[in-house]
Amino acid sequence: MTEDVILQVKDLKTYFLVDEGLVKAVDGVSFDLHTGETLGIVGESGSGKSVTNLSIINLIPSPPGKIAGGEVLFHNKDLLKMSDSEIRHIRGNKISMIFQDPMTSLNPFLRISNQMIETIVLHQGLDKAAAKEKAIEMLKLAGIPAPEKRIDQYPHQFSGGMRQRVMIAMSLSCKPEILIADEPTSALDVTIQAQILELMKELTSKLGTAVILITHSLGVVAGTCDTLCVMYAGRIVERGRTVDIFADPKHPYTQGLIKSVPRLDRENAERLYSIQGQPPNVIDLPDCCPFYPRCDRAKEICRKKYPTSARFENGRAVSCWLYSEEPK
């Protein structure tokens, strides 16, 4: 392994036991995150994007959830095997998160100052006055006007975009090595989305933070991510550098996804391409390629066995029988 890998996810499996059966929400996900890299995870709802990231920081509610296998190595230490107090040291400190809805992830009863100071005091051992100063400095970096005044306000006094700025300021206040952003702009308007993405790019590159960006929007990924993982039904079906994947998508699902988004910058065809059918139900999924019922290039082997991963240049990997040798 190269030196600058800070997070290594190896064959991660997270299952949920529900009344209807076993839901393999994440089923054998592996990827590496390098220092300063922005990694995108795209997929549709239910594909396991968020569960992957909750598993990384060991926040899966158990029961019904259970991390059934795999390793998450952060500086060669397995986060999944750590005790609660050990991981609490890392969460919010070395690895922090931003969630989709800034209203529900901020405590409505507490002033912004209290919420920010708590984190800083806990992880950095500063006293309250110094922590407050630090918090104000972070809010200023995040582009909040008059932070000295705003810091004593409550979350409802901020607009959606401003709340997301507060979240960013809060999550970066301990200079984390990794920032996990789960659909950070999905609840925001396009003009505000552009502001927030720009801010995230600027701050994380200033602090040298690596980012895992979870999103369903291919447009957001194209503009922000260096590398990309495409998830479908709990697995990564294709990963590689963002430019490579958009220039030449290999997995039929990635191809379909890219083709089915209407584009602003060119005239669209009379009819959009669309992938037929519905995303699969992941309960008790058999060992087949989960995409085969919707795939127009499906073969006999696809309904029998999950494809092995085929590798290409620049760290590209594709899980599809079109590129892997069929077993005898």
Partner: protein, 334 residues
């Protein structure tokens, strides 16, 4: 397009909602959700309505459908003004105008089967003697509609929770089609759907339009979706239309600074294009529509603002055939 007749004519539509500033205050305040909107939709065309949250897109659609009683203005469908109609006449007129809603979870009654949901509009019109269909004919129509929108007719006894989001949206579309309307008001019908399902539903809207000659008012916040589906596009900001034009013209040559910013903020799913793109990043948020301003509503966020913009509000002026913009950059007042 221009020779086609006008189906819907919206004139000076205003929708103000009263709010109280405090529990003891006697002064009445308003949210000026829609503050004087004019546009026409011709038969068989799609008018896209685009803007950020809170700009009054949905309120416009609801005020057209008379789900809200407009504060002022006229909504003329087929030459008749809906605003001051008697309830029974309004019901009859609504047969020609149906809505598709954003949230496929909230817009279907969870205790009705999909077949009943689709048949409900027909039942309502049947009971009031506005529709002459036998039970058999209604059943046939429900099954035909289900097949047409891509659902098996064997699903007619299933309940909404047994369907996925995309399938539910298909039920909502079938319900809207049940009365064979001329105009469909589609309020963000694809925003809650996944990418692969979104393109299926967009194609369905296009196919239905070709087949039944439907006219759409199509609301979305996604500019690429609007470009794909619309013949003409209206851009709204704070309850006003700031630019309205043919879709091609608008995307090639956006005139209003807000339209330009909106287009430049929308991400394009291509890293090579994104890498070299220059963005106009707007500062600040959309202001609250709780007061009427004398000047241009976009003044606070505009990069090209002038003194005149603060004092006077620009009106929509025609720049070229079918392209109107409300901005002083294109003609100052005397």
């Amino acid at each position: 397009m221009s020779e086609k007749e006008t189906l819907l004519d919206v004139r000076g539509l205003k929708m103000h909602f009263p709010i109280r500033s405090s529990a003891f205050s006697r002064k009445k305040n308003f949210i000026y959700a829609v503050d004087g909107v004019d546009f026409q939709i011709r038969k068989g065309e799609t008018l896209g309505l685009v803007g950020e949250s809170g700009c009054g897109k949905s309120t416009t659609a609801r005020a057209i459908a008379q789900l809200y009683k407009p504060t002022a203005g006229e909504v003329i469908l087929n030459g008749k003004n809906l605003v001051d109609m008697k309830p029974i006449d309004l019901l009859a007129a609504r047969k020609n105008m149906q809505m598709v809603f954003q949230d496929p979870y909230a817009s279907l009654n969870p205790r009705m089967t999909s077949g009943d949901i689709i048949a409900e509009p027909m039942h309502i019109f049947l009971q009031r003697g506005l529709l002459g269909l036998s039970k058999q004919e209604m059943d046939d129509r429900v099954e035909k509609l289900m097949e047409r929108v891509g659902l098996s007719r064997f699903f007619r006894n299933r309940y909404p929770h047994e369907f996925s989001g995309g399938q539910r949206q298909r039920i909502g579309i079938a319900r809207a089609l049940a009365l064979q309307p001329q105009l469909m008001l589609c309020d963000e019908p694809v925003s809650a759907l996944d990418v692969s399902i979104q393109s299926q539903i967009l194609n369905l809207f296009k196919d239905l339009q070709d087949e039944f000659g439907l006219t759409y008012l199509f609301i979305a916040h996604d500019l690429a979706v609007i470009q794909y589906i619309s013949d003409r596009v209206a851009v709204m900001y704070l309850g006003l239309i700031v630019e309205i034009s043919g879709a091609k013209d608008l995307y090639k040559k956006p005139l209003h600074p807000y339209t330009q910013a909106l287009l430049s903020a929308a991400p394009i799913p291509d890293p090579k294009v994104e890498a070299v793109r220059k963005r106009i990043i707007l500062t600040g948020d959309v202001p609250s529509p709780d007061k009427q301003r004398p000047g241009c509503y976009f003044y606070d966020r505009c990069s090209k603002r002038m003194d005149v913009c603060k004092a006077k509000r620009p009106q929509l002026t025609t720049m070229s055939e079918g392209h109107q913009v409300a901005c002083f950059l294109y003609g100052k007042p005397e």
